[in-house]
Amino acid sequence: MRNQRLLGLIAVGLLSTMIISVSASQKSFAQSQVTLNGAGATFPFPLIDTWRVAYQKVHPSVNINYQSIGSGGGVKQFTAKTVDFGASDAPLTATERKAAPGAVQIPETIGSVAIAYNVPGIPTKTLKFTGPVLADIFMGKITKWNDPQIQALNPGTSLPAANIVAVHRSDGSGTTFVWTAYLSKASPSWNQTIGASKSVPWPTGIGAPGNEGVANAINGSPNTIGYVELNYALTTGIPYALIKNAAGNFIAPSLNSTQAAVTNSPIANSLPAGDQTWTKVSLLNSPGSNTYPIATFTYLLLYKDLSTNPRLDQTKAKALVDFISWAITDGQKLAANLGYVPLPAAVVKHDQDTLKSLTFKGTPLFTGP
């Protein structure tokens, strides 16, 4: 009994110490604190999170909260106006634009999808693949690592006779959208049977939640192959493959090859206006000899008239626009270190034009160049 009492007292004491220390370290929020809540894609999350901390040093009264719940979640919550801004790797489809009239898309960074694999004995950047072969693997048509089609692309490498386990995302994701868009372009059979979307009926393989889940699954078991965003591949040190691009060269995903995808892309110089549809904008299979074929923009979602979202008042709307303006200019300096491609000048200019068009009940908000 006494021991129980003592234990209980210790427990209560521990708990109260925690509560006291937590509230003591809490910042006291002055009246002028502004909190911006955003949600969406997991792909830009590391970058946006770094921006969150860096921006607070420049503007201490602005607190940004971005939760990575996935591109589909970003679109959904943006449409439902339960968050101040959304983020998505996939541009809004026609249906989504109809559900959220007045939506504006602002690309804030660029990334690419890497093909990670774990085949014992085969080091990183050694395996070569083409789009059609990858489509067949993920459809379950190619089942063994030493399949003649794979072997033909990698003549010098000895591949095991093991079954391929394809790893995909179990949560709906913008990365999946980019990946399946690429496979749809590469394989008419994939396009017909499965198509491109944030969430597709995978015919085979294991699903894991999040980029990390996929990386974990690949790291943890041999003879696996899967798709992850480049910055996650770079951070975890997982082996990734060389993919054949439009010019016929096998290119590894890297900052340079991804940047080449943007600068060489015809689309990048004729981007639609922020409030138009961006479904035709694609950085897949961009021309150029050193271009990586699976690159993508990722977008911030806002309403053209920010007052459409009842959560925003004038102050918050201004703060949001200022933050995005900082992110596409000063914020880009932080991108390369994290494995993201900084926006080329043309895209930055285009985004600034979009920002200029944003209003709050008619009052323009952008005070930049």
Binding site: K76, D171, G172, S199, V200, I206, G207, G220
Partner: protein
Amino acid sequence: MLLIGNCKIIIAVLYDCRGVLLFSQNLANNVNKKLSSFFLQGKRRGDKIFYIVTIGAAAYTLLMLALIVYTVGDGSQKIFSFEGIKFFTGTNWNSVEGRESFGALPYIIGTLISAGIAVAIGVPISLGIAIFLSEMASSKISTPLSFVIELLAAVPSIIYGLWALFVFRFWILNLIEMPLYNAFGQSIPFFGVTPFGLDWFTAGIVLGIMIIPIVSSICREVMRAVPNTQREAAYSLGATRWETVRIAIFPYAKSGILGAAMLGLGRAIGETMLVTLIIGNAIGAAAIPTSLFSPSQTLSSLIANEFNEASSDLHLSALIGLGAVLLIITMVINIAARLLVSRMVKVSAGVKE
């Protein structure tokens, strides 16, 4: 003629007046009683208020359930009008615009088999622990051990998920799945798929481990509640320990043990986060397991995976439809449990007499 008619009218009116008089007299009496009781017995009013408060609290429970049923029903209307009965029997799961098709059968199967393994593993082990704690161990061992197991019941299930993902999955993979695959993989298709550690088998086992603390605590309590006289009677007849348990304890404890098993089953079916980490998350027809080592999907884990992302109305409605299926399964299990328990109580009551 007129006279009689008039008399009738007069008599009728008189009767009415009498009625009104009586009524008003009655009313006055009642009001008098109420007023006097109101002032003389104020506590009655307090009791009434208390009664209303408690009945309100009980009604709130029903209200919550009504909210759940309404929200789920309303939200899943779209998918049921789109798919109809095929929602329960179809195996597609395609949310790509223009190709939508949703069927819940693979996930119903996944839910039932993983929960089935959980109960098949968890309940016997829990019974073993309960027997040990209530019959075999001295109080020096059984008190701290039961305390620890009760505490373990409070461990959040996501922690089981973490442990399963980083540690236990490899135990199962290397100690059970790989040997089985190497030995029988070529000959028996049931062991045929390359084991990965992330499949319905692993999920079922971890679910079973998760329900052990709860089920064993309840079983132990139920067994301990059996009066010692029964045990002593059995022992004095020369029964061994197992026979004592079988003859003296199980008849009393049967309904409680079944209740515990049902509780464990409910937990196993409802578990979401832990399952989504280790079940392999297959989609559509690929989620119907063909082998012990196939990845699969349960109703809850699919909802957890896709709900935050589902932006199209039909996709969202399909996920809510899965919630409706879960609601139905839960009710069916509860009804079955009640019927079984009541039958057991009847039987054992008969035996006692």
